[in-house]
Amino acid sequence: MERVLKMAGEVVEPLYEIVSPLGRCTAKPIRSASPLTSFKGKTIGFVWTIFTNGDVLADIFADLLRERFDGIKWVKLPSGKTGKWGDYPHPDLADVIKDAEVDAVITLVGG
């Protein structure tokens, strides 16, 4: 509401009561997945958005995890069913991960 307040004959600035320009937040709290008790024999997914060197990092991570844990299966995953270079992860990424039946997933964001 806009008001012009007068104090002792002096005109002061109008006051404004304003509403928020933000839309309502649609987020619902998501509980994080339970942690792995061990990497041994697990299937680990690696999602990358096809940025330069993401594939290099995926291979190095795979090597480093295999050196530490026995029987690890390593799966490279796209950022969506039709993922292309530089894509913002597609909403169907969740399906990609579910279809891969991984125990945990590492996602490379940015680049």
């Binding site: 928020s20 995890l65 530089g86």
Partner: protein
């Protein structure tokens, strides 16, 4: 890191398992550097995946509802409050009082609570109410409300993919308006059409910037990860009354007389080049300039089958081309057949992004059409378009000048999306009362 945390929280996940890869950008690191950094990082990755995340299910903080008063103060104090809370574009705004918002709501018959879309990455609802609030702040007039609604529906359409608006290239959306609304709301469509000055063009362009801040929550340097970033564009209204062709909206399948908005990403605006001579000469010049403009980033060719670059012709150039027998479609076809660059140049530019790739290798992988690799000759001309539809041809600007410009588009990021403008049933009378039309 902050961007990833913000996006995760917007999706409802607090304390996501995040580990930061050491800089600089992994894309410029040697394989040895990537390995060295990975060796340091791997223990943190393992720890992150094997430790309980304690507050992933924490309730999100309560926020004010529509209509709740969030602040009271002078013009300066209101602007300071909004700026400090990352709710503006940095310019002063009109204070969004409930009374001002109600004035805007008179120009739509849709419920204030109607959700026009959810805008990622902030994943906030864009409702009729929030459109009105941001329209007030942008300095719009209340009767612009139907245009603001259509713009919001366009950017909320998955085809437009607003979630990619904060990408590295820093593209910005341009709004094109067609139909009777141009005259009704007094849009500028002729001289200096893309410069701030006319209220409808300028404030509606600014509205979209504010919607990106307050709806999608693109905050510069935080969730907006543009390397540099383009400023917002004022609305480009087509000079339909000066055009020899049907309005752009009709060429896109809308009925004559329907007002529309088209929102399209712009990566780069070319020099406003001059065309001379006959229609044949002029279209040849346009194809040369289009080859120059589209060769800047051939990687876009591999982003998928659709792009919608914009070729904006002054009315004079359009009339010369039309006089030479060229329809809009003829120009699109000509550009499709004549825009291209030598393969060695294409491959060299491509290899800035993918050091091992060539047009032929991408064609073999199905990421480019076969037309990009008709031979292995490095001097062959590689096309820069997948189809004639890739150019939107728009007539605007000073009617007497022989100038054009090209605005390149960012493929599936901000892909041109057109929506009809839904006006209230008493629109004509409302405008007549406002502007004293006879």
């Amino acid at each position: 890191m902050e961007s990833a945390r913000n996006s995760a929280e917007a999706a409802g996940q607090r304390n996501a398992r995040l580990v930061e890869f050491p800089g600089p950008n992994i894309g410029v690191q040697s394989e040895a550097d990537v390995r060295a950094n990975a060796e340091v990082l791997i223990d943190r990755v393992i720890k992150s995946l094997t430790e309980e995340v304690v507050s992933g299910d924490t309730q999100l903080a309560a926020e004010p509802g529509p209509g709740d008063i969030v602040f009271r103060g002078t013009f300066s104090a209101v602007n300071d409050y909004l700026y400090k809370n990352s709710l503006t574009d940095g310019l002063p705004v009109v204070p969004p009082t409930p009374e001002k918002v109600q004035e805007f709501l008179k120009y739509t018959e849709r419920s204030p609570d109607e959700i026009l879309g959810i805008l990622p990455p902030g994943r906030r609802e864009a409702t009729t109410w929030t459109v009105a609030v941001n329209g007030v702040m942008a300095g719009c007039r209340p009767e612009y409300m139907p245009v603001l609604m259509a713009i919001t529906e366009a950017v909320a359409d998955p085809r437009y993919s607003i979630g990619q608006s904060g990408s590295t290239s820093g593209w910005a959306p341009m709004i094109i308006v067609n139909g009777p609304i141009i005259h009704q709301l007094k849009f500028q469509s002729e001289g200096a059409v893309t410069r701030p000055g006319r209220r409808a063009n300028t404030t509606i362009g600014r509205f979209l910037r504010l919607l990106m801040v307050n709806g999608a929550r693109f905050l510069p340097g935080i969730t907006d990860k543009a390397t540099f970033g383009l400023n917002f564009f004022v609305v480009l209204a087509e000079a339909e009354h000066r055009s020899p062709w049907e309005p752009l909206s009709v060429s896109l399948g809308f009925k004559q007389g329907t007002s529309t908005v088209t929102v399209n990403s712009v990566l780069c605006v070319s020099y406003n080049f001059m065309t001379i001579g006959s229609a044949e000469n002029q279209i040849g010049i346009i194809a040369e300039e289009a080859s120059r403009a589209l060769s800047q980033d051939p990687v876009l060719q591999a982003f998928g089958p659709e792009r919608r670059h914009m070729l904006v012709l002054s009315p004079l150039v359009a009339s010369i081309l039309s006089g030479g027998g060229y329809s809009r479609r003829d120009i699109q076809q000509y550009l499709f057949e004549n825009v291209g660059i030598p393969a060695r140049q294409f491959d060299s530019l491509l290899q800035r992004f993918w050091p091992k790739e060539t047009a032929c290798r991408l064609a073999e992988q199905g990421k480019l059409p076969r037309s990009f690799c008709v031979s292995e000759d490095p001097d062959r001309i590689v096309p820069l378009m997948w189809s004639p539809d890739e150019f939107l041809i728009i007539v605007a600007g000073d009617p007497s000048r022989n100038r054009c410009f090209i605005a390149t588009q960012c493929a599936d990021q901000g892909l041109a999306t057109t929506k009809p403008i839904d006006v209230p049933s008493k629109w004509e009378k409302m405008l007549a009362d406002l502007y004293n039309y006879t």
